[in-house]
Amino acid sequence: MKTTVLFFLFVSNLALTTAQAKSFVYCSEGSPSSFNPQLVTDGTSTNATAQVIYNNLVAFEPGSTKIIPQLATSWDISKDKLVYTFTLRKGVKFHTTKYFTPTRDFNATDVVFSVDRQRVKTHPFHDVSGGKYEYFDGMEMGKTIKEIKVLDPYKVQFVLNTPDATFLANMAMSFMGILSEEYGSKLMAANKKSDMDTMPVGTGLFVFQSYAKDSVIKYTANPQYWGQHGNIDKLIFAITPDANVRHQKLKTGECQFANEPAPADIPEMQKNPKLTVMKDAGLNVGYLALNVTKKPFDNLLVRQAVNHALNKKSYIDAIYMGNAVIAKNPLPPTIWSYSDAIKDYEYSVEKAKALLAKAGYPNGFETDMWTLPVARPYNPNGKKMGELMQADLAKVGIKVRLQTYDWPTYLKKASQGEHSMLQMGWTGDNGDPDNFLNTLLGCGAVKAGSNYSKWCDQKFNKAVVDAKVQTDIKKRTALYKDAQKIFKEQAPWVTIAHSTVFKAMAKNVKGYKIDPLGHDLFTFLVIE
């Protein structure tokens, strides 16, 4: 008996000393809503899917919005800007997992399979997991792409209906990640199509191992990865919704990276010699969406009154701890075509009251506001911001009931338009104004779900749609500036803040670059 115990001790000891695996524990802020990047729009889910498991044809260079080759080695654009021909990388292997072993390399059929799942209604996978492709539809990719031609196994051609200035950037976005067609056929044969979105297979650096909701996601490095990478062997997402707990875990070394640090903890983290804190002006906007399909927000005067009633300055001080600037446009000031000429609705209780009286609500009304359940860069504490807004709106007679749901439910119910007022925000993910104005406020996005105000203004929509097909940047700028003016007049949102983004990690994590598009990239990380 004693000898067996000793033997086990010896073996386990041996295992500990020989396994010098570099694990990287990432304290994330919430559970992903799916493992298929086509189905998600939030940064929390994108970090856990597109950034680790999948690759796109083209990608953004880490730390910038420049487009670089990924699964496509090169591409060619026709003179009329209607035909894009991609040459694909050879010898790229899909993940070998417990549930799937690929027999062939990545090729053009995988590209067609992935895009057509979102584009073609008769595609065998189109209706799987709800059949709603919020991003793809919001960006109107279905309308843009006319057809996809396979020229040979390593050459794919995208033919467009209209020229689209944002097309290449869109191809680099998370929802255009490449899925395995072979895995799809296998699942179809086994009649387990929905596994595609819960047991992912991609070509990225990390292979999915296991997931326990609200607890942990485990990945291991892909030994057959095609490109350059850092030295992480095991990637673990420790899902920790509480920012304070993430900070404590980072301090004790339980994780090497804490996502979304609470602004209150930043000074202390900066003092800690064991931690690195990086910061950057974020490409984001935090806003309060007013649902124009619900009474009384269908009334323009009411929307303007709410704009006047909220004291944004106090939110910047209290919620962002000063690490943000007041937003007057839906676009962040670092993006081109930002219109500085726009005048914001100033904070004025009297004006708000006067507008409400004019709208027929001299004594205000009762309504509900949904507060953001997770800390996001554009809003680190939704509940507290809600309480401030509640106090501000009470001053003009609007009685607000605060409510919230867990993050996936929140997104789902909000895209169905069940709310009256909704705290939301957006971190740009391709650096183009279209990604804000069209994705969040266009008429196409009402149906797709990402236009949370359900606001469809023909004049505004015409401007952003025209700007999209326009390739002359000066004309595009002019159109976007017009759009921002219409937006401000019609006030479907209360724009709140553009925040500074902070990232906190252990000192021995090297090679991290803040992504202006808001994601966390692990591919090039090195642990010393």
């Binding site: 903890d265 809600g386 106090a391 605060l402």
Partner: protein
């Protein structure tokens, strides 16, 4: 009855802990009743130029805010004072609800026995087999978050204790001669249960009620902490505690003060409850 209370007071006076408890409870009741008069500010008023101020007696504090302000600039002292209203009201409602239903069910179960007794007691066993706070969370999740619903949830969880105590007492009392005498005089069941037997079960009930008070306050604070209790902008201690948690390192007073309030209130009710038990329990009395 009058004699009962004067004797009780005599016994209690000997117990210092219980006396401290009574004084604190008395004080907090006064504070709660006079909240609008004592509180220096409106608890929901936001002073956007005074965020996270430390208490005025510490460095950096401002004179107007004795206990400092919270993360969005509300006066902490006023919020704590108004919070005492909620906590005491909650404790009181929980006890009244649980006491009322628990007493009726307990007396009925003990008096009739048989099938009625078995049904009621198995139900209490069922509730008691679940961890109380977990069960309360389930109830609130079904009813929806809010202060009224959390009171109901916590009361439901507290009922079994009352049922068991009353039933045990009724089982002892119902075979005593005065009950037989009442029966011979032709008293109805209702009269025997609630007029003859119940007054003789008061002692353990009083003890349980005072302890139930503290349990109620604690459980509702726990629900508030989990975001299921009082909804904004109501100032409730448990909710204040959980909201301030992320500032534990930078502004510790924001967490400490509501925590202390919960501690002191709950402790004072427990002290009183223990004192009452010592005073009322005949077995403990003999030992002295």
């Amino acid at each position: 009855m009058k004699q009962f209370f004067s004797e009780l007071y005599f016994e209690l006076k000997k117990n210092r802990g219980a006396m401290i408890g009574i004084v604190i409870i008395f004080l907090s009741i006064i504070i709660a009743l006079l909240a609008p008069v004592i509180a220096p500010h409106n608890p929901t008023e936001v002073f956007s130029d005074s965020l996270r101020l430390p208490p005025s007696f510490l460095e950096g504090g401002k004179a107007g805010f004795f206990f400092g302000t919270d993360d969005i600039g509300r006066d902490l002292l006023s919020r704590l004072i108004y919070g005492s209203r909620i906590s005491l009201a909650v404790g009181f409602s929980v006890v009244v609800l649980a006491l009322f239903t628990g007493t009726i069910l307990g007396v009925v179960a003990g008096f009739y026995g048989g099938l009625v007794d078995r049904i009621i007691m198995r139900l209490t066993d069922l509730i008691m087999s679940l961890p109380s706070i977990l069960f309360a969370i389930v109830i609130v999740a079904v009813l929806g978050p809010g202060i009224t619903n959390s009171i109901i949830a916590v009361a439901v969880v507290a009922v079994p204790n009352f049922i068991r105590i009353i039933r045990a007492q009724v089982l002892v009392e119902k075979n005593k001669q005065y009950v037989s005498a009442a029966k011979l005089f032709g008293a109805g069941h209702f009269r025997i249960m609630f007029v003859e037997i119940l007054p003789n079960c008061m002692a353990p009930l009083i003890v349980q009620a005072s302890l139930g008070f503290s349990d109620g306050i604690l459980n509702v604070a726990a629900l508030g902490f989990l975001g299921l209790g009082a909804q904004a902008p109501m100032s409730e201690w448990g909710t204040m505690l959980s909201d301030a948690r992320s500032f534990i390192e930078s502004s510790p007073w924001m967490v400490t003060l509501p925590g202390l309030c919960i501690l002191v209130t709950v402790l004072s009710f427990n002290l009183l409850g223990d004192g009452l038990r010592d005073a009322l329990d005949p077995r403990l009395k003999k030992q002295n």
